[in-house]
């Protein structure tokens, strides 16, 4: 299966090479437009809604989903689609109508920056470090998954695959900034959809159609009876009980992801108008509907076709290698690379924005009265992008995980801080009485709570992977701590929070391009 001569034809190689060169040239071309930090970090505030929407979706869908998500669908079934359906739609509407206009009008570059202004610098730095860690770990995981895919399909060396990705994505992200990231995302979204649809159609044909696929999977035994059910019982042996999906994922994890994740927020900040920012988020919700069809259905079909795959994360690579004909294999391969690169470039650009705004910017002001100049920020931003990419490549191999699907591993790590971040952000926006000490205590003790709960997961919760429940309890605990500590400490002066709480921000007109 790993012999490149058997798996990849000349046409496939030509398609892949054309794709890689095309993205490199297209992305780098936007580098000519980058003259200031504003161009680099927020695309000069010129992005239309359709580009923002496509970029949000394709940044969210990466190698993790194509490999890890499809692997989880192979193992657990359609319930995996909850992450893109109920785990996206409500949160994206809330983000579009509440948080996006709020961030636009409050004049912040990052959510951590808002938290710093609303609470204090310690909350800002703690929040920034949390997101930096999340984005950086995800970068490494994505590179690792890419190398796994390339090894399975082409037999390429793991290190060669990682460095090839790093060089291509690194060049256009360093030169073109957010504009290059978003515009290449648009191209990559189209390629991903075309490749994904091709894979779904061929999978279903190979499985004998939808009904035949369902019958084959049900014939595998009782353990697969719920393979086509979205909401599973509370005591399901899978990590996705309905209670955790609706309240943990639908209410806490997804809302936190779409309102506080810099990789999402940054695209809306690059919009040409506030309407484009809001419309971009809702447009993305439309595409989210299609994602499980092109990503998870192949994972499910792999079970019907090959029920002996030991590592679920290899389900889709196996399908690509075994059932796709010459030509389509190259297209699918390009689609996968598109998904990967779009996520890597987004996380890279957003990590650097957080560092420059919340860490370097703050540190710089401690020692100098004036902040760094636009040209200094641009040079440092580009340098840091390159450094971060190299570090992610060097650490990628450490994220090999044989114990559980990598998707569950990432979601578990994510659940540690999503609840606390959402609680502190919500109270900061909606409750004038929330204080700096309250936010600090809510964030730090909230993360301590979720980590502690994870140690007791098997005893307290019905699932062996209780990240959905941990996020809900962490959110509620952080809410309580923030409220109690705020009431015990002195209120913030009105002039400090003016323009930072919901009422005063929403009643104001959009500044038409601020921050």
């Amino acid at each position: 299966m790993n012999d490149p001569a058997e798996t990849l034809g000349v046409i496939d190689s030509a398609i892949i090479l054309s794709y890689l060169l095309g993205v490199l040239v297209f992305g780098t071309w936007f580098g000519r437009r980058v003259r200031s930090a504003k161009d680099f970090f927020v695309a000069g505030r010129a992005l239309p809604f359709w580009a923002i929407g496509m970029s949000i979706v394709v940044s969210d869908i990466g190698a993790l989903d194509f490999i890890g998500g499809a692997g989880a669908a192979y193992r657990y079934g359609l319930a995996q689609a909850n992450f893109d359906w109920i785990g996206s739609m409500p949160a994206m509407l809330i983000a579009a109508f509440v948080f996006v206009p709020f961030i636009w009008r409050s004049g912040s570059y990052t959510v951590s920056e808002f938290l710093g202004r609303r609470y204090n610098v310690r909350v800002q730095i703690f929040s920034a470090l949390i997101w930096l860690t999340f984005l950086s770990v995800n970068l490494s995981v994505m590179l690792w998954l890419t190398s796994q895919f390339l090894e399975t399909i082409l037999g390429w060396d793991v290190h060669f695959s990682i460095w090839l990705t790093v060089v291509i994505v690194g060049i256009y992200t360093v030169s073109g900034g957010l504009t290059a990231v978003v515009m290449t995302d648009v191209v990559q979204m189209v390629i991903m959809l075309v490749g994904g649809v091709a894979l779904v159609v061929l999978c279903l044909v190979e499985a004998g159609g939808w009904d035949s696929m369902v019958a084959k999977i049900h014939a595998l035994g009782e353990v697969h009876d719920d393979h086509f059910t979205l909401l599973l019982p509370h005591d399901t042996p899978t990590p996705y009980p309905w209670s955790g999906i609706v309240f943990g994922l639908g209410v806490v994890l997804s809302t936190s992801y779409f309102v506080a994740n810099q990789a999402v927020v940054q695209r809306t900040l690059g919009a040409r108008t506030e309407w484009d920012a809001k419309a971009g988020m809702i447009f993305a919700a439309f595409f989210k509907l299609l994602i499980p069809i092109i990503i998870y259905i192949p994972g499910i079909a792999a079970l019907a076709l090959y029920d002996d795959i030991q590592d679920p994360d290899r389900a889709v690579p196996t399908l690509v290698a075994r059932i796709l004909p010459v030509g389509l294999r190259g297209l699918m391969f390009a689609a996968f690379l598109a998904a990967l690169m779009s996520s890597v470039d987004s996380y890279l650009n957003s990590s650097v924005t957080i560092f420059m705004t919340d860490i370097y910017g703050k540190w710089h002001r401690f020692f100098k009265a004036d902040g760094p100049s636009s040209s200094q920020t641009l040079v440092l931003g580009r340098l840091l992008t390159a450094v971060l990419m190299v570090v992610a490549a060097l650490t990628a191999r450490h994220f090999e995980n044989d114990d559980q699907p990598i998707y569950v591993f990432i979601q578990t790590a994510f659940s540690y801080f999503q609840g606390p971040v959402l609680a502190v952000l919500l109270l900061g926006i909606l409750w004038r009485r929330a204080t700096g000490f309250g936010g600090e205590a809510g964030l730090i003790l909230g993360v301590a709570c979720t980590v502690s709960l994870s140690y007791m997961g098997e005893r307290l919760f019905p699932s062996n992977d209780p990240f959905l429940f941990v996020s809900v309890w962490g959110f509620l605990f952080s809410l309580a701590v923030t409220v109690i500590v705020s009431l015990l400490t002195r209120p913030e002066p009105p002039e400090k929070i003016e323009g930072l709480v919901y009422g005063s921000v929403v009643k104001s007109k959009s500044p038409g391009g601020a921050p």
């Binding site: 359906w85 739609m89 409500p90 209670s243 639908g250 809001k278 419309a279 809702i282 509907l289 307290l460």
Partner: protein, 88 residues
Amino acid sequence: MTLSEFFNEHVARVLEVVFAPADALFRAMPPWSWTACAVALLLIPGIAAFFLSRDFVYEGAPDRALWRDLRFWGILILLPYVALYLIF
């Protein structure tokens, strides 16, 4: 004693007082109520958006054409999601 053993022996016993009733409630709920919760979660933000002012929704739009009313975008996109949860 490992950290895991410490938490399970000393802390989990106390937390079970809070978590056990929630666990029992979720176990007792019938499947139709799971779907009802999911559909409600999907519909609430879409319906709530209609309580926002038109000025707020159109802010930044070049004109006030009906197709630019984002509240209708939200509802239209919501419907297939609701259908999926009712079917599967």
